[in-house]
């Protein structure tokens, strides 16, 4: 009796799901056929499909940008398609390539560039830059070297940056004043950073909980998928201490060097002294509600902060310099042209137009992202914008000493995971920094050697 009942339940469940999947198929079939029709509507006009994952607040600026391009190029239409997250973008690209439905242009990351190149899915940029409608070498070299390096795989350029970002130090001036610190003198060295962070961590009512935390470090559970956000924020410290991830020949990793130990020890000390294990992961909420004094953050949040932090006295400052040098991490979004595109030249026209100084100035002002090349600094409109927006200028100035994560030819994601493990172990897990880094580096080296054998 009971078994029968449950069986009936299971059957209805099964039917419900099969109906659902049938509906999904119908929808998929109908949308895919729509896409085909659109493209052949007009013999003259060419439609370029462009996949991206811009946050929704950037979409109005993107539409404005595309409108400008289409006005200047009446025969080319850009069809921008939004894919919710970077993860979904990769998965969609995989299916699209397999079913010969790849977009003309898409955002890509160096994380999976290796796979795209090995699958012969994207063009080398030299195919276009050296062609009739190309750009000269000086212009190409005007793009920040860190961005060019990140856009390449094994030294060959496979994509071009659309915009840049980097990390700076967000701080609350009011809290500086209250702690007896000069609000116009944000920390300039590691020693100052540690000292200020300690002075800004306060238990005002003496209940053992900290009402105010000096500095936020993105250690789990805020680390994000694959802990990439955590590793991304740690990288500047590694460089500031004079270290790097991997040697030039890519035979072994270097992050367990004395510089790596120095950088991770700093994080461990801050994590323990500031009791960050009990700190919330919503650092922006904590900052806005006056529970946090300092955090590292990017320019993409500036438009939002200008809005939500109206009642706060805050500013951005360059990241403090380490024992060896000043450094920040540079990121960005990169455009690649797919070999399955039937209009690669028109796709290139868009990419070429996108990196022009005038376009870059237009895009930076509207989107809040940073320009990708030096020449933009000479555009009058952009110069005016910088004087009006000192916080934005901090990020633009930092581009001069910004470094990009060196693209790792094989197994880059796993190596990133190993670094994340070392950071977690020495902070959350309270392990010895040297031991944690060595264990991780051993794993990475083993991986590099096994890849080499293939």
């Amino acid at each position: 009796m009971v078994i029968l009942k449950t069986r009936a339940l299971a059957i209805t469940k099964f039917f419900f799901f099969s109906k659902l999947s049938f509906l999904v198929i119908v929808i998929l079939l109908s949308t895919s056929s729509c896409g085909k029709k659109d493209e052949n509507k007009n013999g003259k006009e060419v439609t370029i499909v462009f996949w991206h994952s811009f946050v929704s607040s950037t979409v109005p600026a993107l539409n404005e940008l595309i409108g400008k391009f289409e006005k200047e190029h009446p025969t080319i239409r850009i069809k921008a398609q939004y894919i919710p997250t970077g993860d979904a973008l990769v998965q969609k690209l995989i299916t699209a390539i397999q079913s010969k439905n790849a977009p003309d242009i898409s955002w890509i990351h160096s994380d999976f560039m290796e796979d795209l190149v090995r699958a012969d899915a994207i063009y080398k940029m030299s195919y276009f830059t050296d062609g009739n409608n190309g750009i000269n070498k000086e212009e190409l070299e005007d793009i920040y070297p860190s961005l060019r390096q990140y856009a390449s795989w094994k030294g060959t350029l496979y994509s071009l940056p659309m915009e840049a970002t980097n990390l700076a130090l967000l701080y609350n001036k009011e809290m500086f004043r209250k702690a007896g610190l000069d609000p116009n003198h944000p920390p300039k060295t590691w020693a100052e950073l540690e000292d200020y962070a300690q002075k800004l961590t306060l238990d005002t009512n003496g209940d053992g909980k900290y009402e105010q935390t000096g500095l936020y470090l993105p250690i789990y559970p805020a680390a994000g998928p694959l802990s990439s956000w955590m590793v991304w924020q740690w990288m500047p410290y590694l460089w500031q201490a004079g270290g790097d991830i991997i040697d030039d020949a890519q035979t072994h990793v270097l992050y367990d060097s004395p510089s790596g130990i120095e950088a991770l020890s700093l994080w461990q000390r801050i994590y323990n002294r500031l009791h960050l294990s009990t700190f919330t992961s919503d650092y922006d909420v904590a900052f806005a509600s006056k529970h946090l004094a300092m955090a590292m953050d990017g320019p993409w949040d500036l438009p939002r902060y200008n809005d939500i932090l109206k009642n706060l006295d805050w500013a951005f400052a360059p990241l403090p310099a380490g024992p060896q040098k000043q450094a920040t991490i540079v990121g960005g979004e990169y455009l690649a042209i797919f070999k399955q595109s039937s209009h690669p030249n028109e796709a290139w026209e868009f990419v070429k137009w996108m990196i022009k100084p005038e376009t870059q100035a237009f895009w930076a002002i509207r989107s809040g992202y940073l320009p990708i090349r030096h020449a933009v600094l000479n555009v009058p409109e952009f110069q005016q914008y910088l004087t009006k927006n000192p916080n934005f200028k901090v990020f633009v100035d930092q581009m001069d000493f910004g470094l990009a994560q060196k693209p790792i030819d094989y197994g880059g994601l796993q190596i990133q995971r190993h670094i994340a493990e070392a950071i977690e172990k020495s902070t959350v897990g309270r392990e010895d920094v040297k031991k944690a880094l060595e264990e991780s580096a051993n794993k990475s080296n083993k991986l590099l050697q096994s890849q080499k054998r293939k």
Binding site: I3, A119, P221, E424
Partner: protein, 304 residues
């Protein structure tokens, strides 16, 4: 003559059963097409892939024999993940079954607000796991979380639920039980309603108390349901993924990384489809063996 008639009958029967088969297939075809494309083909294809190395981007994969399997068994992370999955399973199933039986038993009595309570207990099942995880993240917050506030009332020190390697698994188990309790409660309720009232009346006449009735009538009569729930719960908790993905992403220090999350990570983060398929088949083998053992051991006891 007689021979001929029986032969004719046979031919007729054959023809009829062929016709039946044809119409049956016709009626079943929508389901069969969907089943073949979305279940049967992926299942067989991933078995093939488990002997291949394939990054999904390229159109070709390479045969590497048993390398995926040998890599799996020699990986420390794999064994840790397997251990985590077992802890989660052993943590959720007894708790889940005991609680859902108690709730179903209480709600089976004549009670005011019974319907409301049943809906309330079933609600977590239909809430989207992402929304649920947001709620639980706030409950688990070390500083402002409701859970730490409550245990603080009893003088227990604040627990760093999601950031402590031992506490995180507990946090996951609690949310897992909360999320799946409703289904089992409904199944137990159905089972309880299937027990004839006359048994209880007879026991009453023999002078059995409330506890004796529960122990000697309810529990044995429910055993087919219990058996079914146990198998389904085991399969369910071995395959737990969504709440791990949204609540802890497998951290901290990999303490909540379970098998399916590990498979997902290798398939869709590292693009090692072959390796992910091999681990999937290992998971299938475990579930198959456990279910078979349970069926073999329990069937004689339960269904006699």
């Amino acid at each position: 003559m007689e021979m001929n008639i029986t032969q004719d009958k046979k031919v007729n029967q054959n023809r009829k059963s062929k016709k039946d088969l044809l119409s049956a297939l016709l009626f079943l075809s929508p389901t069969l097409v969907i089943f073949t494309t979305f279940i049967l083909f992926p299942v067989l294809f991933s078995f093939y892939l488990s002997f291949q190395s394939w990054n999904m981007f390229s159109t070709q994969s390479t045969f590497i024999g048993l390398e995926n399997y040998s890599r799996m068994f020699s990986s420390d992370e794999f064994w840790m993940v397997l251990k985590n999955t077992l802890i989660y399973t052993l943590g959720t199933i007894p708790l889940n079954m005991a609680l859902s039986l108690i709730i179903a038993y209480v709600l089976n009595k004549k009670l005011k607000g019974k319907k409301f309570l049943r809906t309330a207990f079933f609600a977590p099942v239909v809430i989207s796991p992402v929304a649920a995880a947001v709620i639980w993240r706030w409950l688990y917050d070390p500083n402002f979380g409701l859970l730490n506030y409550f245990i603080g009332l009893f003088g227990i020190k604040a627990i760093n639920w999601l950031n402590d390697p031992t506490a995180a698994m507990f946090a996951l188990i609690i949310m897992g039980v909360w999320k799946t309790l409703g289904v089992n409660m409904v199944l137990f309720s159905a089972g309880l309603q299937g027990i004839p009232e006359s048994y209880y009346e007879a026991a009453q006449l023999d002078g059995a108390g409330r506890w004796a009735k529960f122990w000697h009538i309810t529990i044995p009569m429910l055993s087919p349901t219990t058996f079914f729930i146990m198998i389904m719960s085991m399969i369910g908790s071995f395959q737990v993924f969504d709440i791990v993905y949204v609540l802890t992403s497998g951290g901290p220090l990999g303490s909540t990384k379970v098998l399916v999350f590990y498979i997902y990570e290798h398939a869709f983060k590292f693009f090692e489809m072959g390796y992910a398929s091999a681990v999937s088949y290992f998971l299938f083998a475990i579930l198959f063996i456990f279910t078979m053992l349970q069926v073999k051991y329990m069937r004689s006891k339960v269904l006699g």
